[in-house]
């Protein structure tokens, strides 16, 4: 078999970020190869909670997050599928005055920065929005237009669209080394090698390794994050639920199941590629859910799972070029909130690669912020 080995861009990692970057590049007529070690969407991108949240974002991410949410509202035009997108809104509940103060402080902060997407609501308005909360909420910070989508559908749609646009995808063997020859990078995977002047590192929780191969220092910690899903129940709640101070986080999916999560830690196995469930953590989460919504206590949990995410020390992703003139670009370490950003990340990286600039300020995301 004759294999093409010369490309314009090699994208390392076929999660959502990698597929988004590839499909945006393909629109610019670039010849793109994605090299995915396992299978596209197998890791964080395909197994996350599907939350699309601008609410309570780290402020550095707000511009990207706002632009991404706009793209989610029209996701079908980008990838030919609605990806299960539901703009149900997100709420962050306060249970007492202290919670309220925290949320108000946050609202104040974003208002001062000129944003209007987050708003405070009182107990009555909260009850109207989430009747099941009863008298267990005294108010909330909400963001209309936030919501959720289906991660597996999203990964499938992004991959298929990338392939439709001519992107080549190789799955099942990871990048083991890269090497620069004149203007070209040679990327090694299994028994093969591929050449391209430009590399994009979208290796998620393993992005620090690829960065190191390119001579860029970063700081990343692999973390297993766990979720549980329940049996179906009749529709009872629209918005995605969060809380100001408790580990309460869930949503009711379109098929009626509840997906419950919220920074629940799983256990990473020795090979750093698999995860286990830590039931004492799940117990705590179940307690919290039952204390807010007692009628859910008889709802069966049918499955727990966990995915692996790369966390940076400041919880901000690494987005931007590597060493000056190297032809290496990074987009990894999304620190548990990268699903929402995926559509815009493809555009930003494509702008950087094809035009050398982007309208977004990436200062807070540069990789060399971790230099000792």
């Amino acid at each position: 078999m004759n294999v093409d080995t010369q490309f314009d861009v090699v994208v390392i990692g076929g999660g959502l970020q990698g597929c988004s970057v590839a499909l945006h590049l393909a629109h610019e007529k670039k010849r793109v190869l994605i090299i995915e070690r396992d299978s596209c969407g197998q890791h964080a991108s395909g197994v996350n909670a599907g939350g699309l949240r601008r609410l309570n974002r780290l402020v550095e991410e707000i511009p990207l997050s706002m632009a991404a949410q706009k793209m989610w509202h029209d996701i079908e035009s980008l990838v030919g599928s609605d990806c299960g997108f539901r703009p149900t809104g997100q709420v962050r509940i306060a249970s007492n005055q202290e919670d309220l103060a925290t949320l108000e402080e946050r609202a104040q902060k974003t208002r001062l920065l000129g944003y209007r997407h987050e708003e405070m609501i009182n107990a009555e308005a909260l009850r109207k929005m989430v009747p099941a909360i009863g008298n267990r909420g005294v108010g909330a910070l909400i963001c209309r237009g936030d919501g959720f989508a289906d991660p597996a559908l999203t990964c499938l749609a992004f991959r298929l669209r990338a392939e439709d646009l001519g992107v080549t995808i190789r799955q099942g063997s990871g990048v083991s080394a890269i090497e620069k020859n004149n203007q070209n990078w040679r990327v090694y995977t299994g028994a093969h090698s591929f050449d391209a002047p430009t590399i994009v590192n979208c290796a998620g929780a393993w992005g620090d390794r690829i960065a190191a191969m390119a001579g860029d220092h970063s700081s990343l910690k692999k973390t297993a994050l766990a979720l549980m899903v329940t049996a179906r129940l009749p529709h009872f709640i629209d918005p995605v639920i969060g809380h100001a101070s408790r580990k309460l986080s869930f949503k009711q999916m379109s098929n009626g199941t509840l997906v419950i999560g919220g920074a629940l830690k799983g256990i990473l196995t020795e090979n750093q590629k698999d995860t286990l469930i830590d039931f004492p953590q799940m117990k705590e989460s179940a307690e919290t859910v039952c204390s807010f919504f007692p009628f859910l206590k008889d709802l069966p949990v049918v499955r727990c799972w966990a995915g692996i995410e790369g966390m940076t020390p400041d919880k901000l992703p690494i987005i931007g070029p590597g060493k000056a003139g190297s032809g290496v670009f990074h987009a990894f370490g999304f620190s548990a909130h990268g699903y929402q950003l995926a559509p815009i990340i493809g555009r930003v990286m494509t702008d950087l690669i094809c035009r050398g600039k982007t309208e977004f300020d990436l200062e807070a995301f540069r990789i060399n912020r971790f230099l000792p």
Partner: protein, 462 residues
């Protein structure tokens, strides 16, 4: 009940019971967990309750179990019936649900003796009322005294099919047909294994006498049947198939499907034990050493859960595993271990000598493995058809895990227990690669649903 046991045994069938009796003999603190109400497992199900008037029907073998259960009751092992195991970890913590209370129990060693399950037989109409597994029907008979409504048609392949047919005849149920998906070609293939089978002539005699009984009863019999499907609107009305060169149709109220049994792998998969593919019966089984040790430290398997070899083999394997575990936990010297094991190893080898023959004579039918039509339901929980699985493969899914992500096959409450093998077979056939290459579904806890309220009250192992 303690919070730590030397040995926790999951499953109170012949393997688990024999292991418990032996482990107690060697002084191990032992806990046996089982989801049934009373001990006995598949073959000796409800043995303590079994009505004596059923004695001649259930047979001598069944009452061999009574002695085993009696010995177990006297052995001094703690026993938790109606226990649901919903998680099991490499840290040897067993999470279970008993009496509505979720709790974790620690073990120094765990023996998995959860037996086998009937292979699902996805043919058109298999989910209609009136259609069920032959072994499932037999279980209903043993535990609830429920006899299927005739006329009954049995279809598929396997010694159990024959056994159930005889039981129906003995109970005066009208059997309208024996439709086998295997045939003379399989007999020929099994010929080289015949000398081995002669080591246990009583099994061959039992088989022949069962065949004779079916023949005497004048039941229409077909072999090499293909294109099986169940017809009926509200419930099963007839089994249709092709045989003897033409289309056949047998009206029936009950249709019992059976294409063999496969090891119950939820626990060993969950633990990430190594497994191997067993081609004659096309199933996965855990890789075990001759004592039943898996690739995971502290985890052993005995009985049909490690490969389907029948009740006597299961009993010997359970006993052997207990000997090995006792010696690992220093309750037994190397010498004691060897001498205790010697007769059992011999017994097991003899018992197993029938298997190559049986497994070749009764291969699972091709149609049940890979449903040829696209409309046949494969995943009952999420209501997915063979066609939808094939579509996912066409869109690039290479493994059961990827098909699951794309279609939700295996995401329902049964967690792929029912559809896992079929999905893998369809992928392998579509991609034209060996099944071992496409892999298997990842198993995630809880293995059985547990409510949020129960989870919130979980008693955590210290």
């Amino acid at each position: 009940m303690k919070s730590l046991y030397d040995l926790v045994i999951i499953g109170a069938g012949p393997a688990g019971l024999a292991a418990a009796v032996a482990a107690r003999d060697f002084g191990l603190s032992t806990l046996v967990l089982d989801e049934q109400q009373i001990p006995g497992g598949q073959i000796y199900r409800s043995i303590e309750k079994a009505l004596t008037e059923n004695t001649p029907v259930l047979g001598k073998d069944y009452f061999h179990g009574q002695k085993l259960v009696e010995r177990f009751r006297q052995a001094g092992a703690d026993y938790l019936p109606e226990a649901t195991i919903w998680d099991l970890g490499r840290d040897l913590i067993v999470s279970c649900l008993v009496d509505n209370q979720a709790r974790q129990i620690r073990a120094r060693h765990i023996l998995i003796a959860v037996g086998a399950m009937e292979r699902p037989v996805p043919i058109p109409g298999w989910t209609l009322p009136g259609v069920m597994g032959a072994a499932a029907a037999d279980i209903l008979f043993k535990s609830c005294d429920m006899i299927p409504e005739g006329p009954v048609v049995l279809a598929g392949s396997g010694p159990l099919q024959l056994l159930v047919a005889c039981r129906l005849i003995d109970n005066g149920v009208k059997v309208a047909g024996m439709v086998e998906t295997n045939g003379f070609g399989d007999n020929l293939k099994a010929l080289p294994h015949f000398p081995g089978a002669l080591r246990v002539p009583h099994y061959l005699i039992k088989g022949l006498s069962m065949l004779w009984k079916v023949r005497q009863a004048g039941i229409p019999a077909f072999r090499n049947a293909t294109n099986l499907r169940v017809e009926g609107d509200e419930s099963a009305e007839a089994l249709c198939f092709d045989a003897r060169g033409k289309a056949q149709k047998i009206p029936a109220k009950t249709i019992l499907l059976h294409e063999g049994v496969v090891p119950n792998l939820q626990l060993t998969r969950l633990l990430g034990c190594e497994h191997q593919w067993y081609e004659p019966q096309r199933y996965w089984k855990p890789v075990l050493d001759s004592w039943g040790q898996t690739s995971v430290n502290g985890i052993s398997v005995a009985g049909d859960a490690g490969g389907v070899f029948g009740a006597k083999t299961a009993e010997a394997a359970g006993h052997l595993a207990a000997i090995d575990i006792s010696s690992r936990l220093q309750a037994l010297s190397a010498q004691e271990k060897a001498s205790a094991a010697a007769p059992l190893l011999k017994e097991r080898a003899r018992e197993m000598s029938i298997r190559p023959f049986l497994d070749t004579v009764f291969p699972p039918g091709r149609q049940a493995l890979v449903p040829p039509g696209n409309e046949t339901l494969v995943c009952r929980c999420e209501e997915l058809t063979a066609g939808q699985i094939r579509e996912a493969v066409a869109l690039g899914a290479l493994s059961p895990g990827q098909v699951k992500a794309q279609t939700r096959a295996g995401m329902g409450p049964c967690q792929g227990r029912m559809c896992g093998l079929t999905v893998a077979e369809i992928i392998a056939a579509s991609r034209q690669v060996p099944l071992a290459e496409v892999g298997h579904l990842r198993v995630r806890p809880p293995l059985k649903p547990i409510t949020l309220g129960q989870l919130a009250k979980l008693e955590i192992a210290e």
